[in-house]
Amino acid sequence: MSDRYDVDRVRADFPVLARTINGYPLTYLDSANTSLKPRPVVDAMSDHYLFHNANVARAMHTLGAEATAGYEGGRAKVAAFIGAATPEEIVFTKNASEALNLAANTLGAGLGVGDEIVITVMEHHSNIVPWQLVAERTGATLRWFDITDDFVLDLDKARAENLINERTKVVSFTFVSNVLGTVNPVNELSAWAHSVGARVVVDASQAVPTLDVGPISDLGADLVAFTGHKMLGPTGVGVLWGRADVLASLPPFLGGGEMIAVVEMTGSTYAEPPYRFEAGTPPIAEVVGLGAACDYLTAVGRSAITAHEADITGYALDGLRALEGIRILGPSATIDGLAVNRGGAVAFTVETADGLDVHPHDVMTMLDSRGVAVRGGHHCARPLHRRLGVTASTRLSPYLYSTRAEVDRLIEALTWTRDFFGGKR
C-alpha cells in the first residue's frame, strides 16, 4: 500500500467498520455488490431532509429553491466527476438497471426484424434482459461477444463471425466486468460499432467507482450508465450520461410530471433532456447524497483510489494464487504486487484437497462466521458463469477503505473453510 494513502483516515469516516460480527472485526469485501457509505454522504442527506426538503422545479419558494439548488448542484457535481461537457448530459434514474432500460427502450424504439443488437456474454443481467425484452418486442436479433480462455472479449471470433455488421444498430457492453475484473477496450469497440453506424451503450457501473473515466466523451460511447450505491452514494439513484445530440434525438421513456412541455388530453409534447427522461419527483435527496459522494471521492483523490485498489487487488490475487484449491475466474497476473489493467472484483472457486467443490454459499456462510463479507452466487451474471463452466463463484471486492490486513483475514478464513469441508470428507 502506498505510504501516502492514509487508509485509516478514510476508515474513520465509515463507522460500520468498527463493528464486530460474531466476535470478529467486520471485514467488508463486498463493495462490488454495494459500497459502504461515509458519514459526510449520510450527513448531507440528513441535513437536506431535515432543513431544506421540498420538491424541485415546481416549488419556487425558498425551500423549493434550496432543494432545487441541491438537486441541480448534485447534477453539476456528477457531471464534473465524469468530465461531462454540461450538467444537461446527466440523466438521473433509480439505478443502473433503469438507465440501461432507458437506453434499450429509447434506442430500441425504431428497431425491427433484421436489425441486430450486440452485447457480450460477460454482461450483468441488467445489460442483458432489457435488450432481450426489446428484441422480443421488436423482432430484432440479439447477438453477443464470447470470451477467450484468458477472460477477455474474443474479438477475433467476433470478426470471424462478422458480429458487428451493417445490420447492427446497437452495441452495449460493460466497461469493467463485475465478475472477472476484465477491463474492456471501450474506445476500440465504440469505433468499431460507430463504423457501421450503430449506437454504443457502455455499462460503467463497475468502472466509475474507481477509475477516473473522464472526460466521458473520450470513451467514444453514446450513452453510459452507472449506479450511485456502488460509489459511496445512496440507493435509489443511477445515472445515464448521454452525448447532448444523442439525448436530444431520443423519444421519452417513462411519462409523468416534470418530463413534459405541454400536456393536452389529446397529446403531449416533451421537455428537453435531461428532464424528458426524469418522470415524476426525482431522487432529490439521493442526488444530494451522490453529489456528496463525488466530493468525497475527489477529496480522497481519484488516482490515489485507483492505485489503492490496484494494491489491494494485487495483494488478494497473490494471496489467492498461493492457496491450494482456489481457481481465479479472471485475469490474475500481478506486477510488483499490483493488479494490472483489471478492476477490483475477484471471483474464484474453492475445491478441497480431496476434490470437493465447496459451494459459494457455504463459503460465504463460513466466511461470515469470521466477520468476512463476500458475495457468493452468479453475481447477476449467470450466462458468464455457464460460459466458464461453473454454476456460481465467490467474489471479493475491495474499495478505498479496504486494507491488506482484511485480505489476510479473508485468506485465513478461506483456508479454514476449505479444510473444514475437506477434512470432513
Partner: protein, 148 residues
C-alpha cells in the same frame, strides 16, 4: 431582498399594459415556447426587413415577470438590427444570471434594467427569460428561412 425591489413599478406597468401584445401579420417566423415547470406559455412572431426587426408580436400567458419582460423586450428590439437585438439579449441574460451582482447599463437596456431585482430570485429568472428565448429562436428561424 424585498419584493418591492423585485416588483418595480416599471415591471408592474408593463404587466398591466403590455406593449406590442397580440399576434400580427406579416411575419417571417412564429415560435411557441413554454416553461414546463410553471406552465407559462408564449407564441411569438417576428418580422424582419433584411437585417432589421420590423415587428415583434405575441400572445402569452404567464406571471408579471414573464409578461413584463416580453413587453420590454419588444420595445427594445423593434427597429434595431438583428445583431443589436442579439447583443441586448446576451446582455440581459448576463444580468439575469448575475445573482444581482451587476451594474445594469440603462443606456442599452432601458426599461429592462428594472429586472435586476429578479436576478436575486433564482426561481423567477426563467420567467424573465421566456420572451427573450422565444425571440432569439424566432429570429434564428427567420434568418435561416431567408438564407435558404
Amino acid at each position: 431582498m424585498s419584493v418591492e425591489q423585485l416588483y418595480q413599478d416599471i415591471i408592474l406597468d408593463h404587466y398591466k399594459q403590455r406593449h406590442h401584445a397580440g399576434l400580427r401579420d406579416p411575419y417571417d417566423a412564429q415560435v411557441s415556447h413554454v416553461n414546463p415547470s410553471c406552465g407559462d406559455e408564449i407564441m411569438l412572431r417576428v418580422a424582419l426587413d433584411g437585417d432589421r426587426v420590423t415587428d415583434v408580436s405575441y400572445e402569452a400567458v404567464g406571471c408579471s415577470i414573464s409578461q413584463a419582460s416580453t413587453s420590454v423586450m419588444s420595445d427594445l428590439v423593434i427597429g434595431k438590427t438583428v445583431t443589436e437585438g442579439l447583443a441586448l439579449a446576451a446582455e440581459f441574460s448576463d444580468m439575469m444570471h448575475s445573482q444581482g451582482e451587476w451594474e445594469p447599463n440603462e443606456d442599452t437596456l432601458e426599461d429592462a434594467v428594472a429586472f435586476i431585482g429578479v436576478a436575486k430570485f433564482p426561481a423567477r429568472v426563467k420567467c424573465a427569460l421566456l420572451g427573450w428565448s422565444a425571440w432569439k429562436d424566432a429570429v434564428a428561424r427567420a434568418t435561416a428561412k431567408e438564407e435558404s
